[in-house]
Protein backbone atom coordinates (compact mmCIF):
# COMPACT_ATOMS: atom_id res chain seq x y z
CA UNK A 1 0.00 0.00 0.00
CA UNK A 2 1.45 3.37 1.11
CA UNK A 3 0.14 6.74 0.06
CA UNK A 4 2.08 9.56 -1.52
CA UNK A 5 1.06 13.15 -2.05
CA UNK A 6 2.60 16.26 -3.54
CA UNK A 7 1.41 19.85 -3.73
CA UNK A 8 2.95 22.68 -5.71
CA UNK A 9 1.38 26.12 -5.38
CA UNK A 10 1.34 28.22 -8.53
CA UNK A 11 -0.50 31.10 -6.86
CA UNK A 12 1.76 32.99 -4.42
CA UNK A 13 -1.25 34.15 -2.43
CA UNK A 14 -1.64 30.56 -1.21
CA UNK A 15 1.95 30.21 0.11
CA UNK A 16 0.93 31.10 3.71
CA UNK A 17 -1.59 28.22 3.63
CA UNK A 18 0.72 25.49 2.32
CA UNK A 19 0.83 23.48 5.56
CA UNK A 20 -2.92 23.83 6.12
CA UNK A 21 -3.77 22.79 2.54
CA UNK A 22 -1.40 19.83 2.70
CA UNK A 23 -2.64 18.51 6.04
CA UNK A 24 -5.91 16.88 4.85
CA UNK A 25 -4.07 15.46 1.83
CA UNK A 26 -1.66 13.52 4.04
CA UNK A 27 -4.29 12.54 6.59
CA UNK A 28 -6.66 11.23 3.88
CA UNK A 29 -3.94 8.74 2.98
CA UNK A 30 -3.83 7.28 6.52
CA UNK A 31 -5.77 4.17 5.47
CA UNK A 32 -3.04 3.47 2.92
CA UNK A 33 -0.22 3.99 5.42
CA UNK A 34 -0.83 4.11 9.17
CA UNK A 35 2.68 3.00 10.24
CA UNK A 36 4.68 6.15 9.69
CA UNK A 37 4.52 9.44 7.86
CA UNK A 38 6.86 12.09 6.62
CA UNK A 39 7.02 15.26 4.60
CA UNK A 40 9.55 17.39 2.80
CA UNK A 41 8.73 21.07 2.82
CA UNK A 42 10.61 23.68 0.83
CA UNK A 43 10.70 27.01 2.69
CA UNK A 44 12.91 29.77 4.07
CA UNK A 45 15.85 29.41 1.65
CA UNK A 46 19.15 30.16 3.39
CA UNK A 47 21.52 32.98 2.41
CA UNK A 48 24.35 32.38 0.00
CA UNK A 49 27.22 30.54 1.67
CA UNK A 50 24.88 28.86 4.12
CA UNK A 51 23.44 25.37 4.15
CA UNK A 52 20.47 23.86 5.89
CA UNK A 53 20.50 20.37 7.45
CA UNK A 54 17.47 18.40 8.65
CA UNK A 55 18.62 16.34 11.64
CA UNK A 56 16.81 13.62 13.57
CA UNK A 57 17.33 11.91 16.92
CA UNK A 58 15.55 9.07 18.71
CA UNK A 59 14.63 11.39 21.58
CA UNK A 60 12.45 14.46 21.40
CA UNK A 61 14.47 15.84 24.38
CA UNK A 62 17.80 15.90 22.61
CA UNK A 63 20.01 18.90 23.47
CA UNK A 64 20.27 20.46 20.02
CA UNK A 65 21.62 23.78 21.35
CA UNK A 66 24.64 21.99 22.79
CA UNK A 67 25.21 20.28 19.48
CA UNK A 68 24.99 23.58 17.58
CA UNK A 69 27.40 25.27 20.01
CA UNK A 70 29.96 22.46 19.80
CA UNK A 71 29.77 22.46 16.01
CA UNK A 72 30.21 26.24 15.86
CA UNK A 73 33.24 26.04 18.14
CA UNK A 74 34.86 23.10 16.37
CA UNK A 75 34.51 24.47 12.86
CA UNK A 76 34.56 28.19 13.67
CA UNK A 77 31.26 28.65 11.86
CA UNK A 78 27.92 30.21 12.67
CA UNK A 79 25.02 27.92 13.56
CA UNK A 80 21.35 28.44 14.24
CA UNK A 81 19.17 25.56 15.25
CA UNK A 82 15.39 25.16 15.40
CA UNK A 83 14.10 22.28 17.50
CA UNK A 84 10.95 20.42 16.34
CA UNK A 85 10.17 17.35 18.43
CA UNK A 86 12.64 14.60 17.38
CA UNK A 87 14.04 16.75 14.58
CA UNK A 88 16.03 19.94 14.30
CA UNK A 89 16.80 22.28 11.43
CA UNK A 90 20.42 23.43 11.46
CA UNK A 91 21.52 26.40 9.38
CA UNK A 92 25.25 26.99 9.17
CA UNK A 93 27.88 28.72 7.06
CA UNK A 94 30.26 25.86 7.71
CA UNK A 95 31.58 23.88 4.78
CA UNK A 96 29.09 21.14 3.91
CA UNK A 97 31.47 18.18 3.90
CA UNK A 98 33.20 19.37 7.09
CA UNK A 99 29.85 19.66 8.87
CA UNK A 100 28.79 16.20 7.73
CA UNK A 101 32.11 14.71 8.84
CA UNK A 102 31.90 16.45 12.22
CA UNK A 103 28.35 15.18 12.76
CA UNK A 104 29.35 11.64 11.76
CA UNK A 105 32.21 11.65 14.28
CA UNK A 106 30.81 13.70 17.15
CA UNK A 107 27.06 13.14 17.00
CA UNK A 108 26.78 9.46 16.17
CA UNK A 109 23.20 9.32 17.53
CA UNK A 110 22.07 12.05 15.15
CA UNK A 111 20.84 11.22 11.65
CA UNK A 112 21.10 13.66 8.76
CA UNK A 113 17.76 13.24 6.98
CA UNK A 114 18.04 16.11 4.52
CA UNK A 115 20.23 18.94 3.36
CA UNK A 116 20.11 21.78 0.91
CA UNK A 117 19.14 25.38 0.46
CA UNK A 118 15.48 25.18 1.42
CA UNK A 119 14.35 21.59 2.04
CA UNK A 120 13.26 20.49 5.52
CA UNK A 121 12.42 16.84 6.10
CA UNK A 122 10.34 15.56 9.02
CA UNK A 123 9.37 11.91 9.45
CA UNK A 124 8.32 9.68 12.29
CA UNK A 125 6.50 6.49 13.11
CA UNK A 126 2.85 6.85 14.05
CA UNK A 127 -0.37 8.03 12.47
CA UNK A 128 0.01 10.79 9.85
CA UNK A 129 -2.23 13.12 11.87
CA UNK A 130 -0.01 12.75 14.95
CA UNK A 131 3.22 13.11 12.99
CA UNK A 132 1.89 16.26 11.31
CA UNK A 133 1.02 17.77 14.68
CA UNK A 134 4.36 16.87 16.30
CA UNK A 135 6.29 18.91 13.76
CA UNK A 136 3.89 21.87 13.77
CA UNK A 137 3.37 21.58 10.04
CA UNK A 138 -0.14 23.02 9.87
CA UNK A 139 1.21 26.55 10.07
CA UNK A 140 4.01 25.90 7.60
CA UNK A 141 4.34 28.34 4.74
CA UNK A 142 6.05 27.74 1.44
CA UNK A 143 5.64 26.83 -2.20
CA UNK A 144 5.65 23.06 -2.28
CA UNK A 145 5.59 19.95 -0.18
CA UNK A 146 5.64 16.20 -0.73
CA UNK A 147 4.60 13.57 1.76
CA UNK A 148 4.25 9.87 2.42
CA UNK A 149 2.16 7.59 4.58
CA UNK A 150 3.74 4.19 5.01
CA UNK A 151 2.35 0.69 5.31
CA UNK A 152 5.58 -1.23 5.80
CA UNK A 153 6.13 -4.25 3.57
CA UNK A 154 9.83 -4.69 2.80
CA UNK A 155 11.41 -3.62 6.10
CA UNK A 156 10.74 -2.61 9.70
CA UNK A 157 8.56 0.24 10.96
CA UNK A 158 11.23 2.69 12.07
CA UNK A 159 11.86 6.40 11.70
CA UNK A 160 14.89 5.62 9.55
CA UNK A 161 12.70 3.50 7.28
CA UNK A 162 10.17 6.32 6.90
CA UNK A 163 9.96 8.51 3.83
CA UNK A 164 10.99 10.96 2.36
CA UNK A 165 14.54 9.82 1.68
CA UNK A 166 17.05 12.53 0.80
CA UNK A 167 18.82 11.97 -2.50
CA UNK A 168 21.01 15.05 -2.65
CA UNK A 169 20.92 18.78 -2.05
CA UNK A 170 17.26 19.82 -1.90
CA UNK A 171 16.27 16.49 -3.44
CA UNK A 172 14.21 13.77 -1.86
CA UNK A 173 12.05 10.84 -2.79
CA UNK A 174 8.80 9.26 -1.66
CA UNK A 175 7.87 5.84 -3.00
CA UNK A 176 4.72 3.77 -3.26
CA UNK A 177 5.43 0.22 -4.29
CA UNK A 178 8.07 -2.40 -3.74
CA UNK A 179 11.35 -3.02 -5.51
CA UNK A 180 12.32 -6.61 -6.21
CA UNK A 181 16.01 -6.10 -7.03
CA UNK A 182 16.90 -3.88 -4.09
CA UNK A 183 19.26 -6.35 -2.41
CA UNK A 184 21.48 -6.76 -5.44
CA UNK A 185 21.35 -3.06 -6.31
CA UNK A 186 22.25 -2.17 -2.71
CA UNK A 187 25.33 -4.42 -2.91
CA UNK A 188 26.35 -2.85 -6.22
CA UNK A 189 25.98 0.66 -4.81
CA UNK A 190 27.89 -0.31 -1.65
CA UNK A 191 30.80 -1.42 -3.81
CA UNK A 192 30.72 2.05 -5.38
CA UNK A 193 31.05 3.61 -1.93
CA UNK A 194 27.42 4.45 -1.16
CA UNK A 195 26.44 3.85 2.47
CA UNK A 196 23.03 2.68 3.72
CA UNK A 197 21.31 2.99 7.07
CA UNK A 198 18.35 0.62 6.58
CA UNK A 199 17.26 -2.55 4.78
CA UNK A 200 14.55 -0.49 3.11
CA UNK A 201 13.95 -0.89 -0.64
CA UNK A 202 12.99 2.76 -1.13
CA UNK A 203 16.30 3.86 0.39
CA UNK A 204 17.98 1.92 -2.42
CA UNK A 205 15.99 3.89 -5.02
CA UNK A 206 17.00 7.12 -3.29
CA UNK A 207 20.65 6.02 -3.08
CA UNK A 208 20.57 5.03 -6.74
CA UNK A 209 19.40 8.53 -7.73
CA UNK A 210 21.91 10.15 -5.36
CA UNK A 211 24.74 8.15 -6.91
CA UNK A 212 23.64 8.96 -10.48
CA UNK A 213 23.39 12.67 -9.68
CA UNK A 214 26.87 12.57 -8.10
CA UNK A 215 28.16 11.18 -11.40
CA UNK A 216 26.88 14.33 -13.08
CA UNK A 217 23.81 12.70 -14.62
CA UNK A 218 20.84 15.10 -14.89
CA UNK A 219 17.74 14.31 -12.82
CA UNK A 220 15.78 13.59 -15.99
CA UNK A 221 18.40 11.13 -17.26
CA UNK A 222 18.76 9.57 -13.81
CA UNK A 223 15.01 8.95 -13.69
CA UNK A 224 14.99 7.52 -17.19
CA UNK A 225 17.91 5.22 -16.34
CA UNK A 226 16.04 4.16 -13.20
CA UNK A 227 13.38 2.71 -15.51
CA UNK A 228 15.99 0.21 -16.72
CA UNK A 229 17.83 -0.39 -13.46
CA UNK A 230 15.00 -0.63 -10.93
CA UNK A 231 12.92 -3.77 -11.03
CA UNK A 232 9.57 -3.77 -9.30
CA UNK A 233 6.53 -1.62 -8.76
CA UNK A 234 6.79 2.05 -8.08
CA UNK A 235 5.24 5.43 -8.26
CA UNK A 236 7.83 7.99 -7.18
CA UNK A 237 7.33 11.61 -6.27
CA UNK A 238 10.63 13.48 -6.22
CA UNK A 239 10.86 16.82 -4.44
CA UNK A 240 13.25 19.37 -5.91
CA UNK A 241 14.20 22.90 -4.90
CA UNK A 242 11.71 24.30 -7.40
CA UNK A 243 8.92 21.75 -7.58
CA UNK A 244 8.34 18.07 -7.89
CA UNK A 245 8.57 15.27 -10.46
CA UNK A 246 6.51 12.10 -10.81
CA UNK A 247 7.55 8.77 -12.32
CA UNK A 248 5.67 5.46 -12.58
CA UNK A 249 7.02 2.05 -13.49
CA UNK A 250 6.54 0.90 -17.10
CA UNK A 251 3.39 -1.11 -16.37
CA UNK A 252 1.90 1.51 -14.03
CA UNK A 253 1.28 -1.01 -11.31
CA UNK A 254 0.75 1.52 -8.53
CA UNK A 255 -2.02 4.08 -8.49
CA UNK A 256 -1.37 7.74 -9.20
CA UNK A 257 -3.45 10.72 -10.18
CA UNK A 258 -2.52 14.27 -11.13
CA UNK A 259 -4.69 17.37 -10.89
CA UNK A 260 -4.04 20.93 -11.96
CA UNK A 261 -5.79 24.28 -11.66
CA UNK A 262 -4.55 27.83 -12.22
CA UNK A 263 -3.59 27.92 -8.53
CA UNK A 264 -1.89 24.57 -7.91
CA UNK A 265 -0.69 21.21 -9.14
CA UNK A 266 -1.21 18.14 -6.98
CA UNK A 267 -0.34 14.46 -7.21
CA UNK A 268 -1.65 11.70 -5.02
CA UNK A 269 -2.06 7.96 -4.88
CA UNK A 270 -5.81 8.51 -4.86
CA UNK A 271 -7.91 11.50 -5.86
CA UNK A 272 -9.64 11.67 -2.46
CA UNK A 273 -6.39 13.15 -1.09
CA UNK A 274 -6.75 16.03 -3.55
CA UNK A 275 -10.51 16.56 -3.12
CA UNK A 276 -10.16 19.05 -0.26
CA UNK A 277 -8.00 21.51 -2.21
CA UNK A 278 -9.74 24.75 -3.24
CA UNK A 279 -11.22 24.37 -6.72
CA UNK A 280 -10.49 20.62 -6.91
CA UNK A 281 -13.91 19.96 -8.44
CA UNK A 282 -12.99 22.10 -11.42
CA UNK A 283 -9.41 20.82 -11.73
CA UNK A 284 -8.14 18.99 -14.77
CA UNK A 285 -7.59 15.46 -13.51
CA UNK A 286 -5.77 12.65 -15.25
CA UNK A 287 -3.72 9.59 -14.58
CA UNK A 288 0.00 9.97 -15.38
CA UNK A 289 1.30 7.63 -18.06
CA UNK A 290 3.75 4.86 -17.22
CA UNK A 291 7.49 5.37 -17.72
CA UNK A 292 7.01 9.09 -18.29
CA UNK A 293 8.69 11.84 -16.28
CA UNK A 294 6.32 14.63 -15.27
CA UNK A 295 7.66 17.75 -13.57
CA UNK A 296 6.56 21.11 -12.31
CA UNK A 297 8.64 24.10 -11.37
CA UNK A 298 11.47 22.54 -13.32
CA UNK A 299 13.54 25.60 -14.12
CA UNK A 300 16.56 23.94 -12.52
CA UNK A 301 15.80 20.50 -13.89
CA UNK A 302 17.63 20.76 -17.14
CA UNK A 303 16.05 18.70 -19.88
CA UNK A 304 12.88 17.91 -18.00
CA UNK A 305 9.72 18.43 -19.95
CA UNK A 306 7.41 20.71 -18.07
CA UNK A 307 3.69 20.47 -18.61
CA UNK A 308 4.58 18.87 -21.90
CA UNK A 309 1.49 19.03 -24.09
CA UNK A 310 1.92 15.44 -25.18
CA UNK A 311 1.91 14.28 -21.58
CA UNK A 312 -1.37 15.97 -21.00
CA UNK A 313 -4.27 13.85 -22.02
CA UNK A 314 -7.35 15.24 -23.68
CA UNK A 315 -10.77 15.13 -22.19
CA UNK A 316 -12.10 16.83 -19.11
CA UNK A 317 -11.45 20.52 -18.80
Amino acid sequence: MCGIVGLYLKNEALYPQLGALFKPMLIEMTSRGPDSAGVAIYRNPVAEGQIKFSLAHDSSEHDWNALADSLAQALSCSTTITHRDTHAILVTDGEEKAVQNWLAQNATDVRVVGRGNSVEIFKETGLPEDVYARFDLENAQGRHMIGHTRMATESAVTTAGSHPFATGADLCLVHNGSLSNHNRLREELKRKGVSFSTENDSEVAAAYLTWKLQQGVSLKDALEQALDDLDGFYTFCIGTSNGFAVLRDPIACKHAVLAETDDWVAMATEYRAIATLPGAEKARIWEPRPATVYAWGAETLEGLSVNDAEHMTAGAA
Binding site: I251, A252, H255, V257, E270, Y271, R272, A273, I274, A275, T276, A280, E281, I285, W286, E287, R289, P290, T313, A314, G315, A316
Partner: protein, 227 residues
Protein backbone atom coordinates in the same frame (compact mmCIF):
# COMPACT_ATOMS: atom_id res chain seq x y z
CA UNK B 1 -34.51 15.25 -8.23
CA UNK B 2 -33.59 13.88 -4.81
CA UNK B 3 -30.29 14.96 -3.28
CA UNK B 4 -27.94 12.84 -1.22
CA UNK B 5 -24.98 14.60 0.42
CA UNK B 6 -22.22 12.01 0.69
CA UNK B 7 -20.12 14.13 3.03
CA UNK B 8 -23.00 14.61 5.45
CA UNK B 9 -24.60 11.16 5.25
CA UNK B 10 -21.65 8.88 4.61
CA UNK B 11 -21.06 6.29 1.92
CA UNK B 12 -22.95 3.35 3.45
CA UNK B 13 -26.06 5.42 4.06
CA UNK B 14 -26.28 6.83 0.55
CA UNK B 15 -25.48 3.50 -1.09
CA UNK B 16 -28.09 1.77 1.04
CA UNK B 17 -30.65 4.46 0.16
CA UNK B 18 -29.96 4.08 -3.55
CA UNK B 19 -29.90 0.28 -3.44
CA UNK B 20 -33.29 0.17 -1.69
CA UNK B 21 -34.99 2.96 -3.64
CA UNK B 22 -38.03 1.98 -5.67
CA UNK B 23 -38.15 4.21 -8.76
CA UNK B 24 -41.96 4.46 -8.97
CA UNK B 25 -42.55 5.42 -5.34
CA UNK B 26 -39.24 6.93 -4.16
CA UNK B 27 -38.44 8.81 -7.35
CA UNK B 28 -36.31 7.98 -10.35
CA UNK B 29 -33.87 10.92 -10.39
CA UNK B 30 -31.16 11.13 -7.75
CA UNK B 31 -28.06 13.26 -7.28
CA UNK B 32 -25.06 12.55 -5.03
CA UNK B 33 -23.29 15.72 -3.96
CA UNK B 34 -19.84 16.06 -2.36
CA UNK B 35 -18.47 12.75 -3.63
CA UNK B 36 -14.94 13.92 -2.65
CA UNK B 37 -13.28 11.05 -4.50
CA UNK B 38 -14.67 8.44 -2.13
CA UNK B 39 -14.67 4.81 -3.26
CA UNK B 40 -17.54 2.51 -4.26
CA UNK B 41 -20.15 5.24 -4.75
CA UNK B 42 -23.47 4.02 -6.21
CA UNK B 43 -22.36 0.39 -6.31
CA UNK B 44 -24.72 -2.54 -6.73
CA UNK B 45 -27.74 -0.59 -7.99
CA UNK B 46 -30.35 -2.89 -9.50
CA UNK B 47 -33.33 -0.75 -10.45
CA UNK B 48 -33.95 1.80 -13.19
CA UNK B 49 -32.73 4.82 -11.25
CA UNK B 50 -31.01 7.76 -12.86
CA UNK B 51 -28.14 8.83 -10.57
CA UNK B 52 -25.82 11.79 -11.08
CA UNK B 53 -22.56 11.97 -9.13
CA UNK B 54 -21.92 15.70 -8.85
CA UNK B 55 -18.13 15.64 -8.92
CA UNK B 56 -15.07 13.38 -9.01
CA UNK B 57 -15.47 9.80 -7.85
CA UNK B 58 -12.93 7.41 -6.35
CA UNK B 59 -12.40 3.73 -7.11
CA UNK B 60 -15.07 1.25 -8.27
CA UNK B 61 -17.83 3.80 -8.79
CA UNK B 62 -21.08 2.26 -10.12
CA UNK B 63 -19.62 -1.22 -9.85
CA UNK B 64 -21.90 -4.21 -10.51
CA UNK B 65 -24.52 -1.86 -11.94
CA UNK B 66 -27.79 -3.36 -13.16
CA UNK B 67 -30.43 -1.32 -14.98
CA UNK B 68 -29.46 2.04 -13.44
CA UNK B 69 -28.19 5.01 -15.41
CA UNK B 70 -25.24 6.58 -13.54
CA UNK B 71 -23.46 9.75 -14.67
CA UNK B 72 -20.21 10.86 -13.03
CA UNK B 73 -19.71 14.56 -13.63
CA UNK B 74 -15.96 14.59 -13.46
CA UNK B 75 -13.15 12.09 -13.09
CA UNK B 76 -13.67 8.42 -12.23
CA UNK B 77 -11.04 6.48 -10.31
CA UNK B 78 -9.84 2.92 -10.80
CA UNK B 79 -12.39 0.30 -11.93
CA UNK B 80 -15.37 2.47 -12.79
CA UNK B 81 -18.42 0.28 -13.67
CA UNK B 82 -16.44 -2.86 -12.92
CA UNK B 83 -18.50 -5.98 -13.49
CA UNK B 84 -21.45 -3.95 -14.79
CA UNK B 85 -24.36 -6.20 -15.79
CA UNK B 86 -26.70 -3.77 -17.60
CA UNK B 87 -27.76 -0.14 -17.65
CA UNK B 88 -25.45 2.75 -18.47
CA UNK B 89 -22.54 4.52 -16.80
CA UNK B 90 -21.19 7.79 -18.18
CA UNK B 91 -18.01 9.61 -17.12
CA UNK B 92 -17.77 13.21 -18.33
CA UNK B 93 -14.06 13.50 -17.52
CA UNK B 94 -11.19 11.02 -17.68
CA UNK B 95 -11.14 7.58 -16.09
CA UNK B 96 -8.30 5.79 -14.31
CA UNK B 97 -7.20 2.20 -14.84
CA UNK B 98 -9.37 -0.85 -15.48
CA UNK B 99 -12.54 0.97 -16.52
CA UNK B 100 -15.36 -1.49 -17.18
CA UNK B 101 -13.28 -4.43 -16.00
CA UNK B 102 -15.04 -7.81 -16.35
CA UNK B 103 -18.31 -6.08 -17.36
CA UNK B 104 -21.04 -8.46 -18.51
CA UNK B 105 -23.42 -6.00 -20.14
CA UNK B 106 -24.69 -2.44 -20.40
CA UNK B 107 -22.91 0.59 -21.83
CA UNK B 108 -19.96 2.48 -20.31
CA UNK B 109 -19.21 5.87 -21.88
CA UNK B 110 -16.04 7.76 -21.02
CA UNK B 111 -16.08 11.17 -22.64
CA UNK B 112 -12.40 11.85 -21.89
CA UNK B 113 -9.48 9.43 -21.82
CA UNK B 114 -9.36 6.06 -20.12
CA UNK B 115 -6.08 4.91 -18.61
CA UNK B 116 -4.50 1.47 -18.93
CA UNK B 117 -6.36 -1.86 -18.92
CA UNK B 118 -9.65 -0.37 -20.05
CA UNK B 119 -12.11 -3.20 -20.65
CA UNK B 120 -9.84 -5.84 -19.14
CA UNK B 121 -11.57 -9.23 -19.30
CA UNK B 122 -14.81 -7.68 -20.57
CA UNK B 123 -17.56 -10.26 -20.88
CA UNK B 124 -20.29 -8.54 -22.87
CA UNK B 125 -20.16 -4.88 -21.86
CA UNK B 126 -19.99 -2.19 -24.53
CA UNK B 127 -17.46 0.60 -23.87
CA UNK B 128 -17.19 3.86 -25.81
CA UNK B 129 -14.21 6.12 -25.06
CA UNK B 130 -14.26 9.64 -26.51
CA UNK B 131 -10.51 10.08 -26.06
CA UNK B 132 -7.64 7.61 -25.89
CA UNK B 133 -6.96 4.48 -23.85
CA UNK B 134 -3.73 3.39 -22.12
CA UNK B 135 -1.69 0.23 -22.44
CA UNK B 136 -3.09 -3.32 -22.19
CA UNK B 137 -6.64 -2.19 -22.93
CA UNK B 138 -8.96 -5.02 -23.91
CA UNK B 139 -6.67 -7.56 -22.24
CA UNK B 140 -8.35 -10.99 -22.43
CA UNK B 141 -11.53 -9.31 -23.62
CA UNK B 142 -14.11 -12.02 -24.16
CA UNK B 143 -17.37 -10.57 -25.46
CA UNK B 144 -18.69 -7.07 -26.19
CA UNK B 145 -17.45 -4.01 -28.04
CA UNK B 146 -14.91 -1.33 -27.20
CA UNK B 147 -14.94 1.84 -29.28
CA UNK B 148 -11.93 4.14 -28.98
CA UNK B 149 -12.33 7.50 -30.71
CA UNK B 150 -8.70 8.49 -29.99
CA UNK B 151 -5.53 6.40 -29.80
CA UNK B 152 -4.78 3.09 -28.10
CA UNK B 153 -1.64 2.42 -26.04
CA UNK B 154 0.70 -0.57 -26.14
CA UNK B 155 -0.54 -4.15 -26.45
CA UNK B 156 -4.14 -3.46 -27.39
CA UNK B 157 -6.31 -6.57 -27.10
CA UNK B 158 -3.61 -8.83 -25.74
CA UNK B 159 -4.83 -12.45 -25.54
CA UNK B 160 -8.22 -11.33 -26.78
CA UNK B 161 -11.13 -13.76 -27.18
CA UNK B 162 -14.23 -12.67 -29.09
CA UNK B 163 -14.66 -9.01 -28.10
CA UNK B 164 -14.56 -6.52 -30.99
CA UNK B 165 -12.41 -3.39 -30.81
CA UNK B 166 -12.90 -0.27 -32.97
CA UNK B 167 -10.16 2.39 -32.96
CA UNK B 168 -10.25 5.70 -34.85
CA UNK B 169 -6.73 6.88 -34.03
CA UNK B 170 -3.31 5.25 -33.83
CA UNK B 171 -2.63 1.93 -32.14
CA UNK B 172 0.78 1.94 -30.47
CA UNK B 173 1.01 -1.83 -30.72
CA UNK B 174 -1.27 -4.85 -30.82
CA UNK B 175 -1.05 -7.50 -28.12
CA UNK B 176 -0.60 -11.22 -28.63
CA UNK B 177 -3.14 -12.73 -31.02
CA UNK B 178 -4.87 -9.40 -31.72
CA UNK B 179 -5.08 -8.47 -35.41
CA UNK B 180 -6.76 -5.93 -37.62
CA UNK B 181 -9.85 -7.28 -39.32
CA UNK B 182 -12.03 -6.20 -42.18
CA UNK B 183 -14.61 -3.51 -41.48
CA UNK B 184 -17.77 -4.79 -43.14
CA UNK B 185 -21.07 -2.96 -43.55
CA UNK B 186 -22.42 -4.95 -40.65
CA UNK B 187 -19.60 -3.69 -38.42
CA UNK B 188 -20.16 -0.12 -39.58
CA UNK B 189 -23.81 -0.49 -38.62
CA UNK B 190 -22.94 -1.83 -35.16
CA UNK B 191 -20.42 0.97 -34.66
CA UNK B 192 -22.90 3.63 -35.80
CA UNK B 193 -25.42 2.35 -33.27
CA UNK B 194 -22.85 2.29 -30.44
CA UNK B 195 -21.69 5.85 -31.19
CA UNK B 196 -25.31 7.03 -31.33
CA UNK B 197 -26.13 5.40 -27.99
CA UNK B 198 -23.04 7.03 -26.50
CA UNK B 199 -23.94 10.41 -27.98
CA UNK B 200 -20.63 10.67 -29.84
CA UNK B 201 -20.51 12.50 -33.14
CA UNK B 202 -17.85 10.57 -35.03
CA UNK B 203 -17.23 9.58 -38.63
CA UNK B 204 -17.55 5.80 -38.76
CA UNK B 205 -15.17 5.67 -41.74
CA UNK B 206 -12.23 6.71 -39.52
CA UNK B 207 -12.41 3.51 -37.50
CA UNK B 208 -10.52 0.27 -37.93
CA UNK B 209 -11.61 -3.02 -36.43
CA UNK B 210 -9.43 -5.31 -34.33
CA UNK B 211 -10.12 -8.74 -32.92
CA UNK B 212 -8.76 -12.18 -32.21
CA UNK B 213 -6.66 -14.17 -34.67
CA UNK B 214 -7.99 -17.19 -32.74
CA UNK B 215 -4.60 -18.85 -32.64
CA UNK B 216 -3.99 -18.44 -28.95
CA UNK B 217 -7.17 -19.48 -27.20
CA UNK B 218 -8.05 -22.34 -29.55
CA UNK B 219 -6.30 -25.58 -28.88
CA UNK B 220 -4.59 -26.63 -32.11
CA UNK B 221 -4.41 -30.39 -32.45
CA UNK B 222 -1.29 -30.09 -34.64
CA UNK B 223 0.57 -28.85 -31.53
CA UNK B 224 -0.54 -31.75 -29.32
CA UNK B 225 2.93 -33.30 -29.47
CA UNK B 226 4.47 -30.22 -27.89
CA UNK B 227 2.79 -30.77 -24.53
Amino acid sequence: MKQLDLKAEGLRKINSTLQNAVPDSDGKEWAVTNPMGQHAIACGLNTELSVTIEGNAGFYCAGMNQKADVTIKGHAGVGVAENMMSGMVRVTGNASQSAGATGHGGLLVIEGDASSRCGISMKGIDIVVGGSVGHMSGFMAQVGHMVICGDAGEALGDSIYEAILYVAGDVESLGADCIEKEMTEEHQKTLTELLARAGMDQDVKRFRRYGSARKLYNFNVDHAGEY
